[in-house]
């Protein structure tokens, strides 16, 4: 049982992961023989944050805002165009060979789709044990099977299922297998990229509870990427809101959900349907018009200005920084940051 800790749980601890002005541009090229670059998709365009030991940092945003690219950068599946990240003080992007392997042991990932992220031809034991092939020092050869069974038990699956194949499990169980694989090397940081969005509601709650329980038992730090704001509020200590490759607002769960000052955050929150028909008529919703602009050609100045009801001339010329604002002392990238009246229902 997770202890029902005091509401702002564990916003303590030193930073374990520090990300500084991270940028990833994907080139757009044209031409078959003479390839030339004609532009770039600015998937991640200057992102900075800290992850503290034992906390869950949520990253929310709509599709195309760069949250999955950010995850891939942190896992070093992509190299950044510029910027830096340190894991426990060591440079994530300078590491090579053995040092990189040691870094990677400490940082693992849970993927979104439990149907495609497990190899259908491998048994569950092989899937969860595969990290030990790459990092033999993590578990001596003789003890691997036992360790895999421990992991299965830890994520709530029966250790006897070690010789089964992924297709013999349901979606929720497969996601547990993915979590067991991520835990195999005893990492301190786990990047969860939409870990529950492919699951049914009744199964989703089971996996969320499992993630929280494992965090309490093992002292894990999570980066929790999701588009479902209700899930993020439930599980996260701090939340970063991304829009077109930038973090537009960053704060504690309470700061974001109760005292958001960025118009995009406010609109995003008000668009989430509340499962209560009594509130059908008295929700004062903000309806954004239009779609997210293309990250290949983001608007000048503030990137949100094309959909923002507060936009002024200054927004087109001056790019607002994510700095603490007068309305509330948490970083918000808006020239006209202010609290919303009345604040979200609660």
């Amino acid at each position: 049982m997770t202890a029902p800790a005091s509401p702002p749980k564990k916003v303590r601890g030193e930073p374990i992961l520090a990300v500084e002005n991270l940028v990833k541009h994907f080139p757009i090229s044209r031409g078959v023989v003479f390839q030339r670059q004609i532009g770039a998709v600015r998937a991640v365009d200057g992102v900075s944050f800290d992850l503290r030991r034992g906390e869950t940092l949520g990253i929310v945003g709509e599709s195309g805002c760069g949250k999955s690219t950010l995850a891939r950068l942190l896992m070093r599946l992509e190299m950044p165009t510029s910027g830096a990240a340190t894991l426990e003080g060591r440079d994530l992007f300078a590491a090579r060979g053995g040092e990189l392997r040691r870094l990677r042991r400490n940082m693992q990932m849970v993927l979104q789709d439990p149907y495609t992220s497990l190899n259908p031809r491998m048994t569950v034991g092989d899937i969860i044990g595969e990290p030990f092939e790459i990092h033999p020092e993590a578990a001596p050869k003789g003890s691997r099977q036992q360790r895999v069974q421990e992991l299965l038990d830890m994520v709530g699956l029966s250790p006897e299922h070690i010789n089964r194949y992924p297709h013999q499990f349901s979606g929720g169980q497969r996601q547990r297998i993915g979590i067991a694989r991520a835990l195999a090397l005893r990492p301190e940081v786990i990047v969860c990229d939409e870990p529950v969005s492919a699951l049914d509601v009744s199964i989703q709650a089971q996996v969320i509870n499992l993630l929280e329980q494992l965090q309490d038992e093992l002292g894990l730090s999570y980066i929790f990427i999701a588009h479902d704001l209700s899930v993020v509020r439930h599980i996260c200590d701090r939340v970063a809101v991304m829009y077109l490759g930038r973090i537009v607002e960053l704060g504690t769960e309470e700061e974001i959900y109760q005292r958001a000052t960025h118009p995009y955050t406010q609109a995003l929150l008000s668009a989430v349907p509340v499962p209560d028909p009594e509130q059908r008529d008295n929700q004062n919703m903000i309806r954004l018009i239009g779609d997210v602009p293309s990250p290949a050609n983001p608007p000048s100045g503030c990137r949100f200005r094309t959909r923002c009801w507060k936009a002024q001339d200054v927004c087109a010329t001056q790019d607002p920084d994510a700095v603490p604002r007068a309305a509330d002392p948490h970083p918000s990238a808006c020239h006209f940051a202010e609290l919303r009246e009345p604040t979200s229902p609660s």
């Binding site: 709509e62 209700s230 028909p277």
Partner: protein, 361 residues
């Protein structure tokens, strides 16, 4: 709280395993057969190499003109298959409609010829699908695709169809419709593609619109736009709508009535407010308790234990009993009836009243 009260037998018709479900809403003011669309005791199974999956096991629901019925359920609950049966687009085989009726304006669609059903499809009942990108043909411009229905079914000339397609695209608020007529589906964003599909469904002025997870693939801000559009259109055009979804939040915003499905049955049927306030089936109650809420930072989520049943081996008795916190001996043996709770509410649970009155939330 899960103690069965000694009085429980008095108000409940316990026992008989007769499959023919009681008509869900005897309290409805409309006379028998007067519903616009009515599904009666539908049974559908899928015959596959591995066995027979009983996907729909006695589903009954009805829809009156101008109302919105939400059909709520998780994957595999049979909510989409029911809709496909109504539309007559089930793949047969493997699907087999074992029994039941689908009555539209009093006529049973299941006894009609394919030609007769074609006359209903689109002109009377139309459907929109979850994934607009795969529902649209990538090799034709959207204007052509909207117009195709008009040319084929309404006998319009190409020029008329084109003009009407522009009107329809304006109706679903696609900006700059006249210029986007020639664009291909991949040139539209997800929300705009969903609008194109809605425009196609509305082309022949249907009286019933079936929306199968219309916003599941979309971001929240776009989801809100599409749901607003759908409810505005429903109101302005006087359509009735069946909204198929798994999202309790979306349902709360638009539906008049809800039918909750589990393992191919409707386990609870109620008006939207009563269902959220006093769920009368343990499954509905479990679902409502297991969703994280945006409006408060919760503690541990309560969960529904276990997994949905394998439809090839649906448990005996109540199909929900292996996961149910209220389970008693009777649930293991006896399939519960639709218990009528008044106000048109039904719940297929032996302990429906206890569940409804158990205010543990």
């Amino acid at each position: 709280m899960r103690r069965n009260r000694p009085t429980r037998g008095s108000e409940r018709k316990a026992g008989t395993v007769s499959q023919s479900a009681v008509q869900p809403t005897p309290a409805s003011p409309t006379p028998e057969g007067g519903h616009l669309l009515e599904v009666r005791d539908l049974h559908v199974e899928f015959r596959t190499g591995e066995g027979v999956a009983k996907v729909i096991n006695g589903v009954s629901y009805h829809l009156d003109a101008g109302e919105t019925l939400a059909v709520l359920g998780e994957s595999g609950s049979g909510k989409s298959v029911t809709a496909q049966a109504i539309m007559g687009i089930l793949d047969t085989p493997p699907a087999v409609i074992r029994s039941g009726q689908i009555r539209y304006q009093g006529r049973d669609l299941l006894t009609q010829s394919e030609e007769q059903r074609r006359q209903v499809r689109g002109t009377e009942i139309a459907m929109i699908f979850q994934d607009a990108l795969s529902a649209l043909n990538p090799t034709f411009p959207v204007g052509w695709q909207i117009g195709e229905t008009l040319r084929q079914r309404a006998g319009m000339s190409r020029g008329d169809a084109r003009r009407r397609a522009i009107e329809l695209m304006e109706l679903v608020k696609i900006p700059d419709a006249a210029n986007r007529l020639g664009d291909y589906p991949h040139q539209f964003s997800g929300g705009m593609r969903q609008r194109v599909m809605i425009a196609m469904a509305l082309a022949l002025n249907p009286k019933v619109l079936i929306a199968d997870e219309p916003t599941t693939a979309l971001d929240v801000t776009v989801q809100a736009q599409i749901m607003d559009l759908l409810s505005d259109l429903r109101r302005d055009l006087g359509m009735a709508m069946i909204l198929i979804t798994h999202d309790l939040g979306v349902v709360a915003g638009v539906a008049d009535r809800i039918a909750v499905m589990y393992a191919g049955r409707i386990v609870e049927h109620a008006d939207v407010r009563s269902l959220y306030k006093t769920p009368a089936h343990p499954y509905t109650k479990g679902l409502l308790e297991s969703i994280p809420r945006l409006d408060f930072h919760g503690q541990q989520l309560s969960t529904i234990r276990g997994l949905p049943p394998n439809l090839m081996r649906i448990p005996a008795g109540c199909p929900f009993h292996p996961r149910c916190p209220y389970v008693q001996q009777v649930c293991l043996d006896v399939v519960p009836h639709d218990l009528v709770l008044g106000d048109g509410r039904t719940s297929a649970c032996h302990f429906a009243q206890e569940v409804r009155d158990d205010r543990a939330r």
